[in-house]
């Protein structure tokens, strides 16, 4: 079988096929969307909505991502078949983007252990979410546009992870930002949703400014280091070869790039856009705002680990920001009532864990958690989507309840994902979260470990609060409505089940040695990311076991508590909220962060813009004085000049004569 494939396709071709296939889907569906744009959705004689090319667009839009996944899988199989220690491949410049003296940027792809893991996750989870979308979007007229944008997202995400240089990666980075904006505001007729898209875009711009400044500094460093421009200053290979030259600026560059990561991966202080991003269709939330795009910041930090390891300060900052975000977002998840918002805060919180790992230098642990999180968080979102789909758009968890008998598949898969999120043995989340906490503890950052530990408890509580309120206990739905709730179609359930398996057993990728595993993922990544020195020795082995047990008990304890309270004692929380009213108000209003940003930044900015930049600079100085002033001046002169045209020929001759005198005086005298 493989021989047959290799006969026709080289590995290089496979690599660019991974990227090209989703692009082909985007182009195809984009063209379809343009063609059908003028038709609009109509209703047939049965009163059903019909969108032309719905089936065609869905088929192409789903098959091509699966084909990309197959290509990525083939790449993986091929590269692991290589000689030991060389499972990487660089396509070289597929095309040259710019070539100035002093700046060459090629378009090239790089497949190594790290990018291959990312590509597999992106195409794998991405394909499942595409498949899921068919069912979820079956009542929507914009389905052609939806698949065009979703395919385009996949293309840009793959450019981001497979780029062989930082600038091309930035292209993907901006491209996914664009698609994120488009898909958050997918239902743009609703001003609130369009506004959420704009908010995401604007907040990400702040981060991107940091990213760009980092790029400029890298250019400066490479130029000063005397690197050959022809090899591409931003090429990861070239950059890592010149890594020592980054030493003096590593902290600044690292932190500037991290500002970009904070924007993209929703870390303090730029996390505010992600909860609002839930305005998009739920599969979009699953793909972009949980499994893939938001992890781009983590990927970038891991990819540039050779810069970050030079700056303990930058790593320290990343670790503390990550830990703070993990805790902060988890508390906000406690009080939210919108099923998707809870998951959004959870995503922010889990991304915080990943950055915590990065900050501790445990890059492979960060990637491990990234992968498992992609599995269980995508599953959680799609499960939530299944619930919302079944309830025709209801998102308040306290208007649900007791849905287990009506939505069995959704319920059980959701439960598995929740166990994984809570970090209960032996689900995927347990191993990856434990790896991070163990790194925090063993590297002597007990404070950070404690924050992560507390956050893990909160995580367990809020997710089982959700499970309890939605699936168990008595229902808050009217009985007849509850009876009419039906399970989602098979195309939506297959992804749930597959991801359920991955959430349950995905941890096997990185079972630590202490439990008889060999941390296969860590080993696989060791060629790309530095292995952090563990605090070895028997005593710490014991500590590792103890911490593991404590963590599991801790998480289980909070899980049960959350579950019990929200299935059987639903009046408790209200009493608690009444008792600690100010705490509750603080949390339920998300610490008033949005309001603080609004007062401190947005409004002053708008005020200055309105009074100074608009009214003074634009309206008065530019429009009135410069534009209209110039036009009026020219107009006055025009009238003055044409006044000379009296029609009297004697006067014309007078002009002639005066002109002649001037010419003669100028020339002859």
């Amino acid at each position: 079988m493989l021989e047959f494939v290799y006969h026709y396709i080289s590995v290089q071709t496979l690599v660019w096929l991974i990227v090209a296939l989703p692009l082909a889907g985007a182009v195809f569906n984009g063209s379809l969307a343009l063609i059908t744009a003028h038709h609009g959705g109509g209703k047939d004689h049965h009163g059903h909505h019909h969108t032309p090319f719905r089936t065609l667009a869905s088929t192409v839009g789903v098959l091509l991502p699966f084909a990309a996944f197959a290509a990525a899988l083939l790449c993986f199989v091929t590269l692991t078949g290589f000689e030991e220690g060389a499972p990487s491949l660089i396509t070289g410049p597929l095309s040259q983007w710019t070539a100035f003296p002093g700046l060459t940027i090629d378009i090239g792809l790089k497949v190594d252990q790290l990018s291959l893991v990312m590509a597999l996750v992106v195409t794998g989870v991405g394909s499942l979410i595409h498949l899921y979308s068919i069912g979820y979007m079956s009542h929507d007229d914009g389905v052609v546009r939806y698949f065009a944008e979703l395919n385009l997202f996949l293309f840009f995400m793959l450019i981001l992870v497979l780029a062989d240089n930082l600038v091309l990666m930035f292209v993907g980075w901006e491209g996914v930002g664009l698609c994120s904006y488009l898909l958050i505001g997918f239902w743009f007729e609703d001003p609130a949703k369009a506004k959420a898209g704009t908010k995401a875009f604007v907040v990400n711009r702040i981060g991107d400014a940091g990213f760009l400044l980092g790029l400029f500094l890298i250019y400066g460093v490479m130029a000063a280091a005397g690197a050959d421009p022809a090899t591409g200053y931003f090429n990861f290979e070239t950059m890592s070869r010149y890594a020592p030259f980054f030493q003096p600026l590593a902290t600044v560059i690292g932190l500037l790039l991290f500002v970009g990561a904070c924007g993209k991966s929703a870390q303090i202080p730029l996390y505010v856009w992600l909860p609002d991003a839930m305005a998009g269709p739920t599969p979009v939330s699953a793909l972009i705002h949980a499994a893939t795009m938001v992890t781009a910041g983590v990927y970038m930090v891991v990819r540039l680990n050779f810069i970050y390891v030079l700056s303990p300060t930058a790593l320290e900052v990343i670790a503390y920001v990550g830990a703070a975000t993990a805790l902060f977002a988890a508390t906000m998840g406690l009080a939210a009532t919108d099923i998707k918002k809870i998951l959004a805060y959870s995503t922010v919180s889990q991304l915080g864990y990943m950055f915590l790992a990065c900050g501790l230098g445990a890059f492979s642990a960060a990637i491990f958690h990234l992968v498992t999180h992609a599995f269980f968080k995508a599953l959680l979102f799609m499960g939530a989507g299944s619930v919302i789909h079944a309830l025709h758009g209801e998102q308040d968890i306290f208007k649900m309840g007791g849905l287990k008998p009506r939505l069995p598949v959704t319920c059980w898969t959701f439960l598995i994902a929740s166990l994984a999120l809570a970090g209960i043995v032996p689900t995927a989340g347990f191993f990856s979260k434990d790896a991070i906490l163990w790194h925090a503890y063993s590297s002597g950052h007990v404070g950070l470990w404690l924050v992560g530990f507390v956050s893990a408890g909160l995580t367990a509580f809020y997710i089982f609060r959700l499970v309890g309120a939605v699936f168990f206990g008595s229902t808050n739905l009217p009985v007849d409505q509850w009876k009419r709730v039906v399970e989602s179609p098979v195309s939506m359930l297959i992804p749930l089940i597959l991801l359920g398996f991955l959430s349950a057993f995905g941890g096997l990728l990185g079972v630590p040695e202490i439990l008889g595993g060999s941390d296969r993922l860590g080993e696989w990544l060791s060629g790309v990311v530095p292995l952090v020195g563990h605090a070895g020795g028997g005593a710490s082995h014991a500590a590792e076991i103890i911490l593991m047990v404590v963590a599991t008990i801790w998480a289980a304890n909070w899980s049960i508590l959350g579950w019990v309270i929200y299935t059987q004692r639903r009046d408790w929380p209200e009493r608690m909220a009444a008792r600690f009213r100010w705490v509750y108000r603080l949390i339920v209003n998300r610490y008033f962060v949005d309001e603080i940003y609004d007062r401190l930044i947005v409004r002053p900015l708008i005020g200055v813009s309105r009074v100074f930049f608009w009214k003074t600079i634009d309206a008065t100085a530019i429009d009135a004085i410069m534009v209209h002033g110039t036009a009026n001046t020219v107009g006055v002169w025009a009238r003055a000049v044409s006044l000379a045209q009296t029609g009297v020929v004697q006067q014309y001759l007078l002009y002639f004569l005066l002109g002649a005198v001037i010419v003669v005086v100028a020339v002859a005298l």
């Binding site: 045209q645 014309y652 002649a660």
Partner: protein
């Protein structure tokens, strides 16, 4: 001096003789009442021009000929003459339906057009100031008559008289200048004047010689409508029949500029800084007055008149720098002349089309043209964009080569002024487009217009295709222009 071999002269001037014969035959036809209104008259004129065109093209291909009998038969002459013949042919096509619509089938009209063209040919080829003067007057007298061709129209009479009076005035200056040059150098031959120039300039005849040159510049300044010798142009362009306005705005300017180019590169540039300052002043004044006054016009013919003044100003920009890079700038000037004549002829052709059977040329009458005559409106828009200098039209490359050469010669501020003027011009060129496409027509006007006469359509099509084609692929035209220039500079 070598005796002139008249057989060579006869052979070389064959194109003129053909045109002259056609003009004579056309004129004789006016004796017959039946022939007066026949399309045969226009066809004869056209046939003569086309024959001459083919002959001249062969002359161009065979390379530069000698300077003989006070005439230069070089490639510059052939090229200029080809342009004049092309303009004349298009003018005849444009005039045909124009005259028919006004129930006037006048053979004299075509005869005068051809005589004027011959004058232009002599003007372009003239290598002696007297010959140049004769060419100039032959051209002008015919045009004076054409401007007032419709005797019953007072505006036409006014135009003709104004043109004649100011023209006579200017001719006096020109002749005066020629007299001074003859007085100081003892010759009227351009080449010999150039040869003696340095010697004369260092003698005590310097002032008189320079005075003669100044008069010469004034005389040509009048013909190309350079400020402040321009005041006649708007009134005459407005009053003359539209196809004649087109002919005046293009052929007269092309002929005068090519003759001026010959004299300027032989004689004027030798005065160095003096010429640069004078041309600088003329160019800036011409551009500014032309562009500013064009803004205030409500009549499209007057607007195009000022526009043609402004374009003369752009050309004078290149004349300023002529001494620095004669080949490059002459090339730019000739290319610009081709661009200018194509887009101006096209614009006037569309104006002729919109005038139907009247003479009205108010810009507001164009309202709704985009619906009434969508093609004509689109083409006028194309010509106006080209006049503004938008790519991909020939107007863009015209300005590009012109200003590029001037910048390279070091006149950066002059080009900055020219570009600012170009920006001003966008206002009045875009105004008719706005009116055509965005203003509702007055209700009284008929929604559907009659189909246009095919000769007029042909003119619009030929000019539009050229404007667009040379705007995309200017290299062929540039090569022809380059060959035309190289010969005369050696």
């Amino acid at each position: 001096m070598m005796p002139t071999d008249w057989s060579i002269v006869l052979n070389l001037s064959l194109p003129w003789i053909v045109v002259f014969a056609a003009a004579t035959v056309t004129l004789l036809a006016s004796a017959s009442a039946r022939l007066r209104t026949s399309p045969l008259v226009a066809l004869t004129a056209l046939a003569g021009i086309i024959t001459a065109f083919v002959l001249s093209w062969q002359q161009w291909i065979s390379g530069s000929g000698p300077i003989i009998a006070t005439l230069a038969f070089d490639r510059l002459s052939s090229f200029g003459w080809l342009l004049i013949l092309g303009i004349a042919a298009l003018t005849i096509l444009m005039s045909f339906s124009y005259l028919q619509d006004r129930h006037a089938g006048h053979p004299e009209y075509y005869a005068l057009l051809l005589f004027s063209a011959i004058g232009m040919g002599v003007l372009i080829s003239g290598y002696d100031l007297i010959t140049i003067f004769i060419g100039l007057e032959t051209m002008s007298v015919a045009i004076y008559a054409l401007a007032g061709f419709f005797r019953e129209r007072p505006q036409g009479n006014e135009a003709a008289l104004k043109y004649f009076l100011t023209g006579a005035f200017a001719s006096a200056f020109l002749l005066f200048g020629i007299a001074f040059l003859f007085g100081t150098t003892g010759t009227t031959d351009v080449g010999m004047i150039a040869a003696q120039q340095n010697q004369v300039l260092s003698s005590d005849l310097r002032s008189s010689f320079l005075f003669g040159l100044a008069m010469l510049v004034i005389g040509f300044g009048f013909k190309v409508a350079a400020v402040p010798f321009h005041a006649w142009a708007p009134d005459v362009y407005d009053g003359a029949p539209t196809p004649i306005t087109a002919f005046m705005a293009t052929a007269v300017k092309v002929a005068a500029f090519i003759a001026f180019l010959r004299i300027a590169s032989a004689v004027l540039v030798l005065t160095g800084v003096l010429w640069e300052h004078l041309a600088w002043g003329l160019a800036v004044a011409t551009m500014l007055v032309g562009n500013l006054a064009a803004i205030a016009q409500d009549n499209i013919k007057r607007m195009l008149a000022y526009s043609s003044i402004a374009h003369a100003g752009y050309l004078l920009v290149a004349f300023t720098a002529l001494a620095q890079d004669p080949t490059g700038l002459s090339r730019g000037i000739l290319f610009y002349l081709v661009a200018y004549l194509l887009m101006t002829l096209g614009a006037f052709a569309v104006v002729t089309a919109t005038q139907e059977t009247g003479e009205a040329a108010d810009i507001n009458l164009l309202a709704g043209l985009s619906k009434r005559r969508p093609w004509a409106a689109a083409m006028l828009a194309l010509f106006l964009f080209s006049l503004t200098g938008f790519p991909p039209t020939i107007g863009f490359f015209g300005k590009y080569y012109l200003f590029l050469g001037t910048v390279k010669a070091g006149f950066i501020w002059l080009v900055v002024i020219a570009l600012l003027n170009s920006a001003i011009s966008a206002y009045y060129y875009l105004r008719p487009i706005v009116v055509m496409y965005f203003h509702e027509p007055r209700e009284t006007e008929e929604k559907h217009a009659l189909p246009l006469a095919s000769p007029l359509v042909a003119v619009i099509a030929i000019t539009a295709i050229s404007v667009f084609l040379f705007g995309l692929l200017p290299t062929n035209l540039l090569a022809i222009v380059e060959h035309s220039v190289m010969a005369f500079l050696q």
